[in-house]
Symmetry: C2
Subunit: 211 residues, 2 copies
């Protein structure tokens, strides 16, 4: 039986599913979906502050005033990009963990998943989540952090087991933070169409924590 004492601060799977159902980021059918995809792109390439609502509007072929039919203000666009990015990738991560049998496989799966999230199709949105964090107003940060906790817990429990079994040395929290840095940072130098495959990179990253 799970400990429910933290329920208000955590997210259960049902909540995650309902947020997932409302995700628009990857939906090119809706105007809002196209806006979010383009916003992720522009926020990643130019940064949030240097992307104007006029830029975003003209990139999707509408006028700047029309943006505010879909979002109350510019901050809400940022929030939506981040929320959708994290929900989408948390779901992939849960599936990856379920699919793995050994602990080593699970760790590699988590690494692969995180590398995929930051360098693959949702890479721009994930980059925004990681590198534009400071631009999200504090009250909105809290909501996203709650979502993030779900997949950080996946990581921590995997690392705790690995330390218990002697596969990994050190404090799980510190290892997770060091590894999170390595993986997030990969988007600044890794090229998905280069000679290094994402799978090889994942294996090299796994080597960092295994002993």
């Amino acid at each position: 039986m799970e400990d429910m004492s933290h329920k208000s601060a955590r997210l259960d799977l049902d909540e995650l599913e309902s947020v997932f159902a409302a995700m628009e980021l990857t939906n090119p059918e809706s105007a809002k979906g196209r806006l979010l995809t383009m916003a992720a792109h522009l926020f990643k390439v130019r940064g949030f502050d240097r992307t104007t609502v006029r830029d975003l509007a003209s990139a999707v072929g509408i006028q700047s005033g029309s943006i505010f039919h879909h979002f109350k203000n510019k901050d809400e666009i940022l929030e939506a990009v981040m929320r959708d990015a994290i929900v989408y990738n948390t779901r992939l991560m849960i599936e990856g963990v379920k699919a793995s049998t050994t602990l080593k496989e699970q760790l590699l799966g988590l690494i692969r998943c995180e590398l995929e999230s930051i360098n693959g199709v949702t890479g721009e949105a994930m980059n925004v989540l990681v590198f534009e964090w400071r631009n999200l107003p504090e009250e909105k940060q809290r909501g996203i952090l709650e979502l993030r906790q779900y997949y950080e817990d996946l990581w921590l429990s995997a690392l705790e087991s690995a330390v218990e079994q002697g596969m990994v040395q050190g404090d799980p929290f510190v290892i997770r933070r060091l590894l999170a840095g390595s993986l997030s940072w990969s988007s600044t130098w890794y090229r998905i169409d280069g000679s290094l495959s994402l799978e090889h990179l994942a294996e090299q990253a796994l080597l960092l924590i295994l002993h």
Copy 2:
């Protein structure tokens, strides 16, 4: 004898020294030094775009127009913070490498030095270098990259030796990038006044690459 064919793209020690002599960041005696220290602080806390010249001016107790007596424009302030940060820390790193006798000691020294640079007294300026990079106009980026190459070369040659000796497994370039991510990212979660000492963190980071 060193290969001089890349001279134009590299930096020699004399040049480094002359740039170092012109460094103002850590000089509280000059108005420019105070401006740079405060700029590093504000750029780190709020980000470059969200820091106005008015903010900066009032933080050092002058009027916004007076800023432009010291710097031609706002971008030049950012450039100066970055240049001084990198020159200051490259020098520390060179000294650290010189002082170490074994290769393992050298690697630990490089890690310690990088952690110190991003979490210690020059931490705010180094954070600006790492996380506000995109805000520096491209032509200015080139000059800073040239400076940065000096200490990246220190890293690469140490890692190449370590791989040759079997201390470290994998491609030195990839290992360096993964490690650089870990170390830079530490400024987002590590607290220098917390229970984890910088020395312990350095040792944990060394564990990442050693096999």
